[in-house]
Symmetry: C2
Subunit: 405 residues, 2 copies
């Protein structure tokens, strides 16, 4: 543990109630996940060791399963909470829902679409892709054409591609599926969207939402979060071939999730006990806050609008070409002309704001700022001002420096 971080923690923890030490200003980690989390969540992550079979933990795990459903607005979806990164959700989908040789349509809006397609192909899916240009989302007419012309077992959507901040609205796509290919499963990769973007899982007809703990939900990383509709569970049960994974097999996990929800501990593999306590704390904060989930999503939209408006004022252009398709939990901005993201990042860090550069071949031309979770919802924080001020200063310095060259 570095000295700075330990200091932060000790100072914050040095009081009997969690409280922010106003005099202390650690660098603000504003990458699009792992995001900074609330003190309550950090406290919960340091919960004393508990047996995964104890009554105390069983209740926490059962409640976490129920609250996961609430956050996705589904009454009948089946949550799977498994130790692993968000990536494990792709394996869950690829290994449990798709059989060797079945076709899957990947709506590819960037880096994470490429990776999901790789994962599907690894498990033997026949993958077709519809690509969006960088900074845009897929053309609905193309999606409609594909769905009308071929039978797909599933269609995958990257809700927010963390690599570009492009937001793809799932409902119009789910509607097209309903119209042209109602048996097709709608898979939503919401790693960078749960609890920061609107998701009406049941109303929209989404069959799988997969996510992770370290983004909009506001817990530490290490939990693969997936909710499957009953239609998806039925498709799983209708498999005719063996499940080609052990650790990610729903045959193993389904009885475990059902048992914990009923209040009985069951064992397949040890759950990440501390992280489940932290996840429980994060979900409780989301659902018990005034206005609950709805207010939270509204706050994300307002925060996002403030940052995007400030960026425009500074003269920075968003990566998403159309504001309608820009995420509310993060912002991706092109660098000023002649400045690389690898120069902006350390300059911003020096002013106490940690951002992420770009991803892929264009990585030096743009950068990304996360504003999920406490940045959006904690009134006591001045994160947005700090981000905007640092950005303003750094852009002014860098462009002035170029002017002098």
């Amino acid at each position: 543990m570095s000295n700075i971080s330990r200091l932060t923690f000790k100072q914050v923890r040095g009081s009997p109630q969690p409280q922010r030490l106003q005099a202390f200003s650690p660098p603000l980690s504003r990458i699009p996940g792992p995001i900074e989390v609330s003190d309550e969540v950090l406290f919960a992550n340091a919960h004393p060791s508990m047996s995964h079979m104890s009554a105390d933990f069983t209740k926490i795990f059962g409640d976490s399963i129920r609250m996961t459903r609430d956050v996705l607005l589904t009454k009948t979806g089946q949550p799977f909470l498994i130790s692993g990164s968000g990536t494990l959700g792709w394996d869950q989908v690829s290994a449990n829902l798709v059989q060797q040789g079945e076709s899957v349509l990947v709506l590819n809006t960037g880096y994470f679409g490429d990776s999901f397609a790789d994962c599907l192909a690894t498990y033997g899916a026949q993958v077709d892709q519809i690509y969006a240009d960088f900074g845009t989302t897929v053309d609905l007419a193309e999606v409609e054409k594909a769905l009308s012309s071929k039978r797909y077992k599933a269609v995958t959507i990257t809700h927010v591609d963390t690599s570009t901040a492009v937001l793809t609205h799932p409902k119009p796509i789910a509607d097209l599926v309903q119209k042209h290919s109602p048996d097709t499963l709608v898979i939503l990769d919401s790693v960078c969207a749960v609890a920061s973007e609107d998701i009406h899982m049941e109303e929209w007809g989404i069959d799988v939402v997969l996510s992770a703990s370290q983004k909009g939900i506001g817990a530490p990383p290490g939990l693969s979060i997936l909710v499957a509709s009953q239609k998806a569970i039925a498709a799983f049960n209708a498999r005719t071939t063996p499940i080609p994974t052990y650790y990610a097999s729903w045959k193993r996990w389904l009885p475990i999730m059902q048992a914990y929800e009923k209040g009985t501990a069951a064992y397949f593999a040890t759950p990440p006990v501390n992280l489940i306590y932290a996840f429980h704390a994060a979900l409780s904060q989301i659902l018990n806050a005034p206005g609950s989930l709805e207010a939270r999503l509204q706050r994300h939209k307002e925060t996002s609008a403030r940052i995007k408006a400030a960026a425009e004022e500074i003269g920075l252009k968003q990566v998403p070409a159309d504001p309608v398709n820009a995420a509310n939990g993060m912002t991706a901005l092109y660098c000023p002309e002649g400045v690389k993201s690898s120069e902006l990042a350390p300059a911003l860090a020096a002013k106490g704001v940690i951002i992420a550069g770009g991803l892929g071949t264009r990585k030096d031309t743009y950068f990304r700022i996360g504003h999920m979770g406490i940045t959006a919802v904690d009134n006591a924080r001045d994160d947005v001002d700090r981000i905007v001020n640092a950005l303003k200063e750094v852009v002014a310095e860098k462009t002035a420096a170029i002017g002098k060259v």
Copy 2:
């Protein structure tokens, strides 16, 4: 978070330095993992959110990889530290080292041998098993016969079967492999053995040690820890068929581990950042303690001997039939005649000691006590006395009650 646990944490954390609050006596969780961990490790698990790409975390991750090697006494082994439970280690072995149709010999000493065999078969291995009777380990003559009569890609050993506390000594088996089938990979499932039992990975010729964070190492659960020998890596590189997993693929993870060890962050899937800080703290405590790893293992042997001697004095028989094959990190004991483990457990819990019942069809006839980690090495703790006293009292009460019937 329950009231009791929160109280524990707040009281312990209410001082600027981690310290035990002597007046407070929480129930002692003495199951064989997740084990209770040190305050330093809990502190580290509540480390403020850090970017997985930050210089601070990169150093911590790199150090953790190096220290993992030190704990297993290997200079050339390749560690894989992946978000997931210990079970994921089985998938890593089955999917990366064994190709469809290749034969694997499973030395089965209980529940965890059954499960490893299931996992191997899931990925297409042709599995032969040598079964040990309940409470015993495998017959070396049978192992020798099997290795001489068939070419096995790998042989798997459950180092300590957590279901029975049976310890299988890996060296004699590795020696037989060296003698009869030197190409065969020796796979050691040390989930319940790393940092509590002797492991000389390089000297003994072990090709894979797989483990988890929540047992002898003394960190919270959620990290799959695996170290592969260069022979195992060569076998992986010599594969002729595609790797049938995405999340557990070494093709994905090897460059990531190599990058972090060299001090450069790299991305495949988000690592469990907080848990890596906790794991780092746990490894540091193991290696930096006076006498380092060697002293730690000796303390585990002494603690184990004390508990086993006390159990004998109370009249309780160990599940492992031969003391030579009894684990040093846990103890499995038959219940007194006429008493079920499901009656003992709550009676012990009422006296502040949480133990685990049995596993499988015999689960009511025996119970298990964990004594890995701080119980063995923290001089300030009186865990052993508490365990022994509670056991003595409960057994006396239960047997007296039976006498009265």
